[in-house]
């Protein structure tokens, strides 16, 4: 027995995603505090009577027992610890959570220590679930995730000359993940001016503790511009599109459209009432 690895492991984990395997099984991607990201097989979860299925939804924090298989570990027990049920009651929160999970999946590798990313993901899901603003949670998560995975963007000094850059005169390179001063930016490819206010807010998010950063008030319009800069940066770092990002935007567009529609309906109702009143006079 000496030196032989144990046949089962118990670990805490957060479910990042799953994909179908055959008729009734799934391959579930878990993020664990000590073993990094792992793919495991969950058998029979597509059957209505599965005892595992409800515990293995993306975004759930759970305790899981894994039996070591030849190619992949197999889930033998799963018990959710936190299901973050309130995330599923609101589309903006749910789409943001999907985006957090996809980023964690894209920026971690299998079987590598990832305690910092695990703690960050857990803290951010907790914040979303308790109703913190989706913008502040998502932006601070992105920046802290880049820190934890070695992709911290340079937002303060010029990538070329190392001098501090005035926010109103900075240029931005998403591919290099940093800013240039006006002199060094020159005609570099892929570098373009960045809105000074956007950069100031990102600097604050990067340098201040979460609670401080959360006090910054943003207009919807400014929040959308910051989001666009960060989506482009995350795309560049992950070297592929983060697909949940477009669902986050689609959900917001649907809300804006719905609100406009309701306002219009209300205005029509008011008009109708006024017309009746005018007729009565």
């Amino acid at each position: 027995m000496a030196g032989r690895p144990p046949r089962v492991t118990k670990t805490e984990a957060i479910v990042l995603r799953y994909r179908r395997l055959g008729d009734a099984d799934r391959i579930v991607t878990l993020l664990t505090p000590h073993r990094g990201k792992v793919d495991v097989v969950a058998k029979g979860v597509l059957r209505a009577r599965s005892k595992l299925a409800g515990h293995l939804e993306p975004g759930t924090r759970l305790e899981v027992v894994l039996a070591h298989g030849r190619s992949m570990d197999v889930v033998t027990q799963a018990q959710s610890v936190e299901a973050f049920a309130t995330l599923r009651a609101d589309l903006d929160r749910l789409s943001a959570a999907m985006y957090l999970l996809e980023l964690a999946d894209r920026l971690t590798v299998e079987h590598a220590e990832s305690g910092a990313v695990y703690r960050l993901l857990h803290a951010s899901l907790t914040r979303l679930a308790r109703g913190d603003g989706q913008q502040i949670v998502t932006r601070t998560y992105e920046l802290a995730l880049l820190d934890a995975t070695g992709f911290r963007p340079e937002l303060v000094v010029c990538l070329q000359c190392g001098e501090a850059v005035d926010a109103s005169r900075a240029s931005w390179s998403p591919l290099e993940g940093g800013i240039y001063c006006a002199e060094c930016a020159g005609r570099r490819p892929g570098v373009s001016p960045i809105d000074g206010t956007v950069l100031k807010v990102l600097r604050a998010y990067q340098s201040q503790p979460y609670e401080e950063a959360g006090r910054i008030r943003l207009s919807d319009e400014l929040a959308a511009r910051i989001e666009s800069v960060m989506h482009t940066l995350m795309h560049a770092v992950a070297e592929r599109e983060i697909r949940s990002a477009s669902f986050v935007s689609a959900a917001r567009r649907a809300r804006v459209r719905g609100e406009a529609h309701e306002a219009e309906a209300e205005a029509r109702a008011v008009e109708a009432v006024e017309a009746v009143e005018a007729a009565e006079e």
Partner: protein, 197 residues
């Protein structure tokens, strides 16, 4: 590749057919009378050539509008929105629903690159904008998982402003389930949507 191997491989690509079953099926065809083999081959081709999507509900059908959409005895005030054609079969089999359907052909699944624009949502909106529409309620019957819920909430966001009642299937414990093994979300909802006995 030998003709037998080609057939084995073709069966193996079908859902739920492992390599052993694929071999058994292939050898069954090999031993069967030629008429049986021809019948199978023709049935396969015929289904691909004659099946279309219903212009109204987007279900797979051999004629458009499909039998359900054309059935004048069905309620026309309610549409049940499902992910896949097989879900229509499952719900209709219960006999408890007599309204119309709409098949999305998928579910919002960002990590697989499937967004709302890849589903038959525009087609649903078009049905609802039709001047002759009698629809007042939409029942969203997507699966009770994260993607199904994202899809149902997205639909609700689009449909509520149109003045429609949007409901979704009750969620709770499956028949034969054991409370002890239920997850928190399922158990919490079963409690929330409890009924008088």
């Amino acid at each position: 590749m030998s003709p037998i191997q080609r057939l084995v491989d073709a069966f193996h690509r079908l859902p739920g057919i492992g390599p052993k079953s694929a071999q058994r099926l292939a050898y069954h065809v090999l031993r069967a009378p030629v008429e049986e083999a021809r019948d199978l081959a023709e049935a396969l081709l015929h289904v691909k050539e004659s099946i279309v999507l219903c212009a109204r509900c987007q279900n797979v059908t051999d004629r458009s509008p499909c039998r359900i959409c054309a059935d004048t005895s069905r309620e026309r005030t309610v549409i049940c929105v499902v992910e896949e054609p097989l879900d229509v079969v499952a719900i209709d089999r219960t006999g408890g629903y007599r309204g119309l359907y709409h098949v999305l052909h998928g579910v919002v699944s960002p990590s697989d690159g499937i967004g709302p624009e890849d589903l038959k949502i525009e087609e649903l909106l078009r049905r609802l904008r039709d001047v002759d529409t009698e629809v007042t309620e939409i029942i969203v019957a997507t699966n009770p998982n994260l993607q199904g819920e994202a899809t149902s909430m997205y639909l609700a966001r689009l449909l509520r402003p149109l003045g429609l009642k949007v409901t979704r299937l009750a969620r709770g414990l499956p028949a034969g389930a054991d409370l002890e093994y239920a997850d928190d979300v399922t158990l919490g909802r079963a409690m929330e949507y409890r009924q008088e006995v």
